[in-house]
Amino acid sequence: MTDRPANDDGFNRSAGRQLLLIAVVSVIGIVLLMLGLSWASGLAGGTRVSKGIDAATGTVTLALADEPPQLDSTRSTDTISSMVLGHVTEGLIRNGEGGELTPGVAERWKITDTSATFWLRADARWSDGKPVTAHDFVFAWRKAVDPKTASEYATILFAIKNAEAINKGRAPISSLGVQALGDNVLRVELVRPVPYFAKLMVFSTFRPIREDFFNATAGRYGADADMLLYNGPFTITRWVHGAQLRMEKNPYYWDKDRVKVKVLDFAYFSSDPNALINLYKDGKIAVAGLNQENLNEALVKRWPINRFQRGAVFYMEFNHRKDRPTTNLHLRRAIQLVIDPDEVVYRVIKLPGNLPGRSLFPVWLDGNQGKFREEYPATQVLPNAVEARRQLALAKKELGLETLPPLTLLSDDGALGDKMTEYFQETLRRELGLTIRIDKQIFKQRLAKMSAGDFDLVLGGWNPDYPDPLTFADLFASWNSNNRGRYNNPRLDQLVAVAQTSTDVQTRMDTFGEIQRILIEDPPMVPIYEPGVVYVVDPRLQGVVRRVAGFDPDYTNVSIVGK
């Protein structure tokens, strides 16, 4: 860089012109290349630049958090697949707009302690026009308990005669206590009374599958749009994996008058909250979740904000395996006394819709007449640092320790993970002088460590399987494999057994009330919060139903108002 050449302007100008020419040529080249690539990558559909709501074509464009992993109803376990299946298939019973049980494929039903009978409607049809029969249910349910299917939700059918034996390979599949009495009557034999059996029927595992179609798919059932047979309000007409899932109104659906839009286009698969809110802002999708960071913007822009309680409960679980300090009741109490669910919800999560956790039983559960939590209020444990330190001193004395060893708090890479664990670590350090070691793992690793008992504290949660307090109540029963902290309380086990077998509502609810009391007084876990979501819905879209049990959100009843 020593001698600078004479940069005469004439040379520069002509060189500049050359560059400009090259630039123009390359821009043209790039445009051609892009067109070519878009053609080559095979995704060039003109439908993708549509608006969030298109009244003219009756199209609603939405986003999906992720690709539905499993649309074979007998094997599906996740919420996204459940949502999709809820729109394109229908079971014997479904949830109405208010969450009440409404006839689905079954016109009426009768459930006793030993059996259940469903009378199927004659006009229920598959999307190829053939009727939905009782045989389709028998086929699907047998498949669900078949050990070869390896369905993770097979347990949900275990109340049916022989289901458990079949799943363990000890009985032939045909011995399942489900029979088709003709095309229109389905009879189920139960091994024990199931007070919530009708509510179970809403679950995706109980959807029908037609045998001939299933066999024709040669093991690819549910893998693509044309690998599924539909009997719900919508059919999937286009499924570009990872990019788009388009549903259209099902002309063969028996109750098709209730479906008011023509197309539900899940055109974006993303769980990035910022990307989704940007899409909403740009008018590309009709519904988007809000997070704490973009609430203010939503308020300033006067978007219609809704909130919804997801129905789950998040809690901090203790490890009750022998050599763990958390087996000590006083230590657990001490931790319980410094954890302030109010502060977590109001100061850390900061989103309305989340409720401070008071009990393992969330507020939405039904009791005798009203809500369970109104009839059996949970005692609120108020934060009390002085009492907590007293409990801690007791714990140290009982454990015979000067100082407690560091406690391991297991967490994963979930959305609120870091914020929560850091908050608890600091709170427990500040108030009790406990050293908390955060053990952050990927999701599956966290599960493995939980099952192996490699933790002292863990942030966990439970999504209800069915709308009955039992789905929560048996979580800490000693035999439950979801009780990964190995809590063992004979009194609780006894109560759970009562709740499982009793058919008397009052007895059951009293039992749940007692379980709730034990869970607060002898805490195997400390409830943190009941998660909720805050979301915006385009004001032109009406009738989006959110519900705790069954699939969520439910767009089957939506309509477009205005233009």
Binding site: L19, P69, E152, A243, Y268, A448
Partner: protein, 310 residues
């Protein structure tokens, strides 16, 4: 020449085998397994699942089976996308990543060459200072910051215009590609601009350019034939590694812009310990990379006669 090519290809196969083995071992060293879920399943159901996916066999046997399948080009079925073959996943999502990557490379190289030439022409004048400022930004700002800002800029632009000029996220049409690939190519573009600038300056001082000028050749001819052409050479040299880097490193852009590329699947697969998808994507990307390197090396032999292939 042919011997050399065959030799390289054999080495490539060995490399791929090496990659497959490393992946297999690394993956199985992770505690936990793809079968575990939020809801604990009974031991019987677990056994059924393990049998279904062949995880009940000893690791050595699994490895042999796996290599056998690999040799037949069968990556197996995904654990999380339970109905899809890994082959399908790669076939459907790699073109997306590749499209993004190719465009990014094109943007990066064309932009780098043009801007670099421009800065060299206007050395220490306003355009040079301005462009170099952006180059510095491009080199030093992490890609996820760029991606987020890029999307935000799109929202603001559409808001300002009152209509949607370019989509803020998603995939499917030409308009979806522009901003994500620009964002993806930005870092490389900055790097190439700098490279181009210095190689241009070196050539400006070179003897043959002075000779060309002294000969009285027309300015345009000197510029394109001598200056630009020679300056591009080092840029082309670094393109090879960049291609591989960009096509495999597009996770960030894919997740911010909701693009169904293979990168997003890989990250998800790792988080879910989806063995088959992890194996499939690493082996696939690895082979792709190996192939690219071999191709670039072979091309050198044609472009630069000084490089002699063994």
């Amino acid at each position: 020449m042919w011997r050399y090519t065959i030799k390289r290809l054999i080495q490539g196969v060995v490399t791929v085998w090496f990659i497959a083995t490393a992946t297999f071992l690394a993956m199985h060293a992770v505690p936990g397994d793809p079968m575990s879920g939020d809801r604990a399943v009974t031991p019987e159901i677990r056994k059924n699942l393990e049998a279904k996916y062949g995880l009940d066999k000893p690791l050595a046997q699994q490895y042999v089976i796996y290599l056998g399948n690999l040799a037949r080009g069968d990556f197996g079925i995904s654990f999380t996308q339970q109905n899809r073959e890994v082959n399908d996943i790669i076939r459907e999502h790699f073109p997306v990543s590749a499209t993004l990557g190719i465009l990014a490379i094109v943007f990066a190289s064309l932009g780098g060459i043009l801007w670099g030439a421009l800065t060299a022409l206007y050395r220490n004048k306003l355009p040079d200072i301005l462009i170099m400022f952006f180059v510095i930004l491009g080199i030093s700002v992490p890609s996820f910051v760029f991606a987020a800002l890029g999307q935000l800029a799109l929202v603001k632009l559409n808001d300002f215009l009152g209509f949607s000029l370019l989509p803020v996220a998603g995939w499917g049409t030409v308009s979806h590609m522009l901003v994500p690939s620009l964002v993806l190519g930005l870092g490389t573009m900055a790097y190439l601009t700098r490279l181009m600038r210095s190689s241009m300056l070196e050539i400006i001082n070179s003897d043959y350019l002075r000779t060309a000028k002294a000969k009285g050749l027309p300015a345009t001819r000197i510029f394109t034939r001598h200056q630009l052409r020679n300056a591009i050479l080092p840029v082309v040299t670094v393109l090879g590694p960049s291609i591989a880097g960009i096509t495999t490193g597009s996770f960030v852009v894919e997740s911010v812009f909701a693009i169904p590329g293979l990168g997003r699947y890989f990250v998800q697969a790792v988080q879910q310990l989806d063995y088959t998808v992890i194996m499939g994507t690493t082996v696939f990307f690895g082979s792709f990379l190996v192939l690219m390197v071999i191709l670039v090396d072979l091309l050198y032999g044609f472009i630069d006669p000084r490089v002699r292939l063994e």
